[in-house]
Amino acid sequence: MDLMHHDPHPERGQADEQVDVAWRTHAPAAVRFATAVVGPVDAHDVTTSAFLRVTSQPGWSDIEHFDRYLIRAVRNEAQNLYRQRRRRWQRDLLAVRPEASIDSLPDVDLLRAVASLSVRQRSVVFLAYWQDMTEAEIAETLDVTRSTVHRTLARARNALRKALT
C-alpha cells in the first residue's frame, strides 16, 4: 500500500495532554453536577460546552481550584441552556403550567419536587445535600454570596418539605 503523509503538529502535544488530564480528573464530578441540574440528556453537552469554554481561555491551566471553576462554568451553561429553551418556547408557544395533583410514592413526590426547582435552587440543593458542602463552601464554589445561598436553600427546602408531608 502506498502511503504518503505530511504536516504533523507536534507542538500541540503537551497542551492536548493537559486538557486530557483536566478532563479525566474533573469531568466526572462536573457531569454528576450537570446531571443533577439539567438532567441526564443534556448533562454531557452542558459539561462539554463548559469545559471547552474554560480550556479555550489563555492560561486556563493556571486557574486555582479548577474543579470549582468548572462547576461554575457548568452552572452558567445550564442557565444559558434554560434561556435558550425559554426563547424557543416563547416562539413555539409551548408555555404550560403544571396543575396536576398527584398521589403516589413518597420518592416520586420528592423527585417531582426536585424537578420543579430552578437551576439555581437545584445547584445549591445538590451541593448541600449530596456533596455535603456548607453554605460557605457552596458560596465559594458558585461564586455567589453566602446570603444568596442561604435564601435559595431556604426556598428550596420549603418546596421539598411540602413534598414529604
Partner: protein, 386 residues
C-alpha cells in the same frame, strides 16, 4: 442541614445522578463542529416537511414501584453488532463510481472501536439529507457512542490543511483540532468523508466497499423504514408511532398527515420500564391559547394501561399496543389539547408531559417516569453570579 430532609433528598439525587452519562473521550472543538447532528443524540430530532410540526426531544427520569429486583441493567445488555462482511469487499481505489447499494466500511479500526450501525438518510428528510454513513465507536448507550464515521455523500466542511494519498486515492485532510480529523475525497461524482480521532493513515488505507447485503443489520432510515406500533388522534388528526430497530439502535417516529418528527438513538436504556421517546407539539390547538401535544414511548409487556399527565394537568389514559406484533415490549402514544399560560405566554416547565405512569392488569402502578427537565425559572436574575 435539615435532618428530616437529608436522607430523602440524598436518595433522590442518588437516583438522578445514577443516570449521569459516561464522560467519554476528552472533548475538543473539533468534536462539536464536525457533526453536530450525530454527536448530540439529545438534539437529534428531525422535523420533516411540516412547518406546523415542532420537534421536541424528551428524556425521562425513572422511578419504580414494585420493581423486579432480579432485573439489572446487565440483563438488558446489548446485542453484539458483528462487523460488516468485508471479505466480499472491493478496494476503494478500484471503484469508478459508488452505487446506491454500496457502503464504504473500515476494516482497520483504532483500538477499542467497533462497528455500531449503518444509517441511510431518508428522502423524506429533505433534499439536503442524501447521505449514508457507517458509525464506529464504543457502545456506551449514553449518546456519545460514535467516534468514527465513514459517510458517502458528504464532503469536508472547512478548508483542508493537508493531503494524504493511499493507493491512487487522494484525500483532503482537515484537522480543526490536533486529535480530530476529517478526510474527504470523491469517487466518481460522489463525495466520501471519513471523520475520527487519532491517526487516520491506517483507517483510510483499510477502507473497503461492500454491498447492502454485507451489512450485519438493516441500515437505520426514516419513517418509511419503520413499522407502526401505536396510533391515536386529537382534534381529528391521526398520529402514528413507528419504530425501526437495527442491532442495538432504533429510530422513533411520530407521523401525521402534516409530516413526521423523530430520530434515532441507542436501544440500550437501563431501567427503562417506562420511556418517553418521541413527540410533536403543534400549534395552534383547537381553541385559542392551546397547543396539541403528542408524546409516545414504550412500556414493559406487563403494562395494561398508561396514564399520561400533561403539564397543564390534562390526563390521558391509553392502552399500550404493538400493532406490528414484532416486539416483546409495548408502545404508547397519547395526544391532548393542552393550555398555555395565558398571563405570561412563557413556559413554566420544559416538558409538555409532567409524568407517565404504567399500570398492570390489576391496576397496580408498576412504573412511572418524570421528565427532569430544567424546572422553573429563577424568581429573580442573579447579579452576583459570574
Amino acid at each position: 442541614m435539615n435532618m428530616q430532609l437529608d436522607p430523602h433528598v440524598k436518595a433522590v439525587f442518588d437516583e438522578i445522578i445514577a443516570h449521569a452519562p459516561d464522560i467519554g473521550p476528552t472533548p475538543s472543538a473539533g468534536v462539536v463542529n464536525l457533526d453536530p447532528t450525530v454527536s448530540d443524540r439529545g438534539r437529534r430530532w428531525l422535523a420533516v416537511a411540516a412547518a406546523a410540526v415542532l420537534v421536541v426531544g424528551v428524556a425521562g427520569l425513572v422511578a419504580f414501584a414494585g420493581r423486579d429486583a432480579s432485573r439489572s441493567p446487565a440483563d438488558e445488555a446489548t446485542v453484539t453488532s458483528p462487523p460488516p462482511d468485508s471479505g466480499a469487499g472491493r478496494p476503494l481505489s478500484s471503484m469508478d463510481q459508488l452505487a446506491s447499494s454500496d457502503w464504504v466500511v473500515a476494516t482497520v479500526l483504532p483500538d477499542g472501536l467497533e462497528y455500531l450501525y449503518a444509517r441511510r438518510d431518508s428522502p423524506a428528510l429533505g433534499p439536503d439529507r442524501q447521505s449514508r454513513a457507517i458509525a464506529y465507536g464504543v457502545p456506551r448507550g449514553d449518546g456519545t457512542d460514535e467516534e468514527l464515521w465513514v459517510e458517502i455523500g458528504r464532503a469536508n466542511v472547512g478548508t483542508p490543511d493537508e493531503s494524504f494519498t493511499v493507493g491512487e486515492v487522494v484525500w483532503s485532510i482537515e484537522r480543526p483540532e490536533d486529535s480530530w480529523w476529517s478526510a474527504s475525497t470523491r469517487v466518481g461524482g460522489t463525495d466520501l468523508n471519513v471523520r475520527g480521532s487519532g491517526t487516520f493513515e491506517q483507517v483510510l488505507a483499510g477502507l473497503t466497499v461492500v454491498d447492502d447485503s454485507n451489512l450485519p443489520f438493516t441500515p437505520l432510515g426514516g419513517p418509511d423504514d419503520a413499522v407502526v406500533v401505536a396510533r391515536t388522534n386529537v382534534d381529528g388528526d391521526i398520529y402514528t408511532y413507528s419504530i425501526q430497530e437495527s442491532g442495538r439502535y432504533k429510530c422513533d417516529w411520530v407521523t401525521s398527515q402534516d409530516g413526521a418528527s423523530g430520530g434515532c438513538g441507542s436501544l440500550v436504556q437501563p431501567d427503562a420500564d417506562v420511556t418517553i421517546d418521541a413527540g410533536v407539539t403543534t400549534e395552534p390547538g383547537a381553541l385559542p391559547g392551546t397547543v396539541d401535544a403528542v408524546r409516545s414511548g414504550s412500556v414493559t409487556a406487563a403494562t395494561a394501561s398508561v396514564e399520561v399527565v400533561f403539564a397543564d394537568g390534562t390526563t390521558v389514559t391509553v392502552e399500550p399496543t404493538d400493532l406490528s406484533g414484532t416486539f416483546d415490549i409495548l408502545f404508547w402514544i397519547a395526544a391532548a389539547t393542552i393550555s398555555t399560560d395565558s398571563q405570561t405566554g412563557l413556559p413554566v416547565t420544559q416538558e409538555s408531559v409532567a409524568e407517565v405512569r404504567a399500570y398492570d392488569r390489576e391496576g397496580i402502578l408498576i412504573g412511572t417516569t418524570i421528565p427532569l427537565g430544567l424546572g422553573q425559572p429563577d424568581e429573580e436574575p442573579s447579579t452576583e453570579e459570574q
